[in-house]
């Protein structure tokens, strides 16, 4: 409040105009730009997606059998940059923000009898949205979401290649 008292009236008015113009430009740009966000859409929350779809969770100990028996296709929903730094062996990159672009490359490679296991970072939700988008695109494979994030999968060797 004290700070507002020492601000000039003219500065506050112009600052308000900057915010207004910025907001209008941003909303207008996103309405026109094909890669923009749907400004007036209500984005589903993860709870709604999980409730409407039959998506199950799987943990770090359960995925080993899927990996060894090649029963599953792993999908990495992180960014391309993070994917390049490291990913599960054989995983396909399907970043949420470029879903349509990557899905077109990936769609033909999905074998119908394989499970899909989607993972991302610790605490991230992009895997849930990618699962939702896959189901919307007509994918009928059973989908599992990794409870653990990429960080917990480190080092990969200890999970997938140990002799225990």
């Amino acid at each position: 409040m004290f700070f507002l008292k020492v601000c000039y009236k003219r500065d506050i008015i112009v600052a308000f105009i900057i915010i207004l113009v910025g907001s209008l430009l941003g909303i207008g740009y996103n309405l026109i730009y094909s890669g923009g966000v749907k400004v007036f859409a209500r984005y589903s929350h993860k709870e709604e997606i999980l409730k409407k779809n039959e998506i199950d969770f799987i943990n770090i100990h359960e995925i080993r059998i899927f990996f060894e028996e090649s029963l599953a296709q792993f999908i990495d929903s992180r960014d391309e940059e993070e994917f390049k730094k490291g990913h599960l062996p054989g995983a396909i990159n399907l970043p949420l923000h470029k879903f349509d672009e990557y899905f077109s490359r990936f769609a033909g490679k999905i074998e119908q009898d394989r499970f899909l296991i989607i993972y991302c970072d610790k605490g991230c939700d992009s895997k849930i949205f990618v699962a939702d988008k896959l189901l919307t695109k007509g994918i009928r494979n059973k989908i599992f979401l990794m409870e653990d994030g990429w960080e917990e999968l480190q080092p990969i060797e200890s999970i997938f290649f140990s002799n225990e």
Binding site: R10, D79, E81
Partner: protein
């Protein structure tokens, strides 16, 4: 703080906010996911906030380049920094550590935490000091016909 320091700081804030806004404008979907991961905004506010924020950053940054609009531009930047600090404090309190998303490249891939909070608090304090300095001339020499 002499006029050259003020000028350098003005350009510093301007460049920081312009650089921060560009990748968010180019890739709004990615920014939407970043903001979503903060888990603060409701699903109704999320898209509009994501669409507007980078453009507000850009315009505020450009305003800082001009003498006439520097102080209102800086007010907007103070408001934005205050929102960022508040968001980081809430997420630290809730135990959520999303990617900062502040910049592109490696800086954008740092997770929020005490370091990012400290950086933003320092920037906020610096911006407030700069605002006082920018407007001090007006305070010292008030023009009765101006700013009524």
């Amino acid at each position: 703080m002499n006029r050259y320091t003020i000028l350098i700081l003005r350009y510093f804030f301007s460049i920081v906010f312009i650089i921060a806004s560009v990748p968010k404008i180019i890739n709004p979907q990615k920014f939407l996911i970043t903001v979503y991961n903060y888990k603060i905004l409701s699903s109704l506010l999320l898209p509009a906030f994501t669409a507007a924020l980078p453009w507000i950053e850009l315009i505020a940054g450009v305003c800082l380049l001009s003498e006439a609009f520097a102080s209102p531009g800086l007010l907007v930047i103070i408001l934005l920094l205050f929102i960022f600090v508040l968001a980081i404090i809430i997420d630290i309190y809730l135990g959520i550590d999303p990617y900062c998303g502040c910049f592109s490249g490696s800086l954008g891939y740092s997770r929020i935490g005490w370091e990012v909070l400290l950086r933003d608090i320092c920037l906020l304090l610096l911006a407030i000091i700069l605002y006082y300095k920018l407007t001090s001339r007006r305070r010292n020499k008030p023009n009765p016909n101006e700013y009524k």
